[in-house]
Amino acid sequence: MGINTDKNSYTILFAIGMVIIVGTLLAAIDSSLKEKIKTNKILEKQQNILYAIGVDDNEGNNVSFISTDQAPIEFDKYVVNQIYIQGGKVIEDEEAYLIEVKKEKTLAKNPNYDRRLPLFIAEKDQKKYYVAPIRGKGLWNSIWGYVAMDENMVIQGAYFDHQAETPGLGANINQRFFMDDFIGENLLDSNGNFRGITVSKKDLDPRNEIKDDNRVDAIAGATITGDGVSAMIKSDLRLYVPYFKKLKQN
């Protein structure tokens, strides 16, 4: 090769050329796939919410959502009402499930902003479910989930997920052995005050048979992710307490 690759001018030209090529390539691929990725994310939300109320394709111990073709149909069938709560007012919104909790949390840093709290009301086998999205921090990145409750704030189902928790440890929050433990747990204590659920290493109840202790068994080696799950349940579901109190009075 006849090029002198050590020359300054060559180095700079090469760097500029590479940035232009790589930048264009990535931008082109990203914008051409954007719509498809967006649709996938919406379908995933529907699958997650349905999973929380027990509409899934689970076999054995594997978590498996209903198929993406079925998700919109089943979603319309089971989710009877979508609302969001803003400043104590309940507002109906057919697309409340598209509200992004992440964005609302950022906006809520401004004290003048009343955060929108989405809540999806579903009916399955003559039973009412109230599904709330939650979001928090794990060890490496965001964790989030959907918690289905009955009108007494007893958990009926939960789905958790994560961006980048450690595989084999914190990443297991989206496995059934962890999520299923939340079913039947009461978010309130015996006096009816909100206490949340603590992911506890001292639970001494690995089968999780005691349901009114506000605790579930932690995953060994995933302390920080587990603490993140406890924290997001406490901070985010607490905001729904006034709604459930009103619900009982009526």
């Binding site: 050590d6 090469f14 590479m18 498809k36 379908l43 111990n61 450690t166 595989p167 690995p206 060994a220």
Partner: protein, 214 residues
């Protein structure tokens, strides 16, 4: 191997034994410690690295004569990051479920020093085919150690293999647990992975004494 010359097959076989990337070259230790708590995660990571190493080495080898040497590390980093991001985007659009399983590995691959190490040590100075073989060979060597470590950590730490309880049920006290056996929770933590890798290095060096330096 009829397909490969003796010199070429050495590229595949050496990293599996006397030139293993983890135990001899000490590359890729961070991911070997981080993700080997379960066998399944080890295997997924191995496959992902196999793809990226094969493709990455070929791309670097293709452009080896036109890369200015002073910025070659940055160029390598950009190429590897671009490759991984493209694969990630395509998976997100066409195989969303798979992309979710792999998403946690993306960051680990970009920063995996095995990949940079092989670009630098091999692909920059060798032809296409040999670079490809070197990438595959080193990824296989890396996979071998990952799977061994994952096997022992999951077996001793959780009493399961690929999620199946092979030693009995720890809570109901069946199988081995009926005799008072307990899982070792330490095995789930990264320091024990380092100790397992250490034991592998020890066994390897006591068998192949020519590897021991003074």
């Amino acid at each position: 191997m009829g397909l490969l010359s003796k010199k070429d097959s050495k590229l595949i076989l050496d990293p599996l034994s006397d030139n293993n990337p983890i135990t001899i070259q000490v590359l890729g230790i961070c991911s070997a410690l981080a993700i080997t708590a379960e066998l399944e995660a080890s295997v997924v990571m191995s496959i992902a690295v196999l793809f990226v190493m094969g493709a990455g080495n070929v791309v670097i080898s293709l452009i080896r004569n036109i890369v200015p040497s002073r910025i070659r590390i940055i160029v390598q980093l950009i190429i590897i990051a671009t490759l991984v991001i493209i694969v990630d985007l395509v998976l997100k659009a066409y195989a969303y479920e798979l992309s979710k399983t792999l998403s946690v590995f993306v960051g680990l691959i970009i920063t995996n020093c095995i990949i940079m190490g092989r670009f630098e040590a091999f692909a920059l100075g060798n032809g296409l085919w040999r670079s490809f073989l070197d990438g595959i060979g080193n990824a296989l060597g890396y996979s071998l150690i990952l799977i061994i470590v994952g096997f022992f950590r999951e077996l001793l730490g959780s009493g399961t293999l690929w999620g199946y309880p092979v030693l009995g049920d720890a809570i109901d006290k069946t199988g081995l647990y009926a005799f008072g056996y307990e899982n070792n929770g330490f095995m789930l933590l990264s320091p024990m992975a380092l100790i397992v890798v250490g034991i592998i290095i020890w066994i390897q060096r006591s068998k192949s004494t020519h590897l021991i330096e003074d």
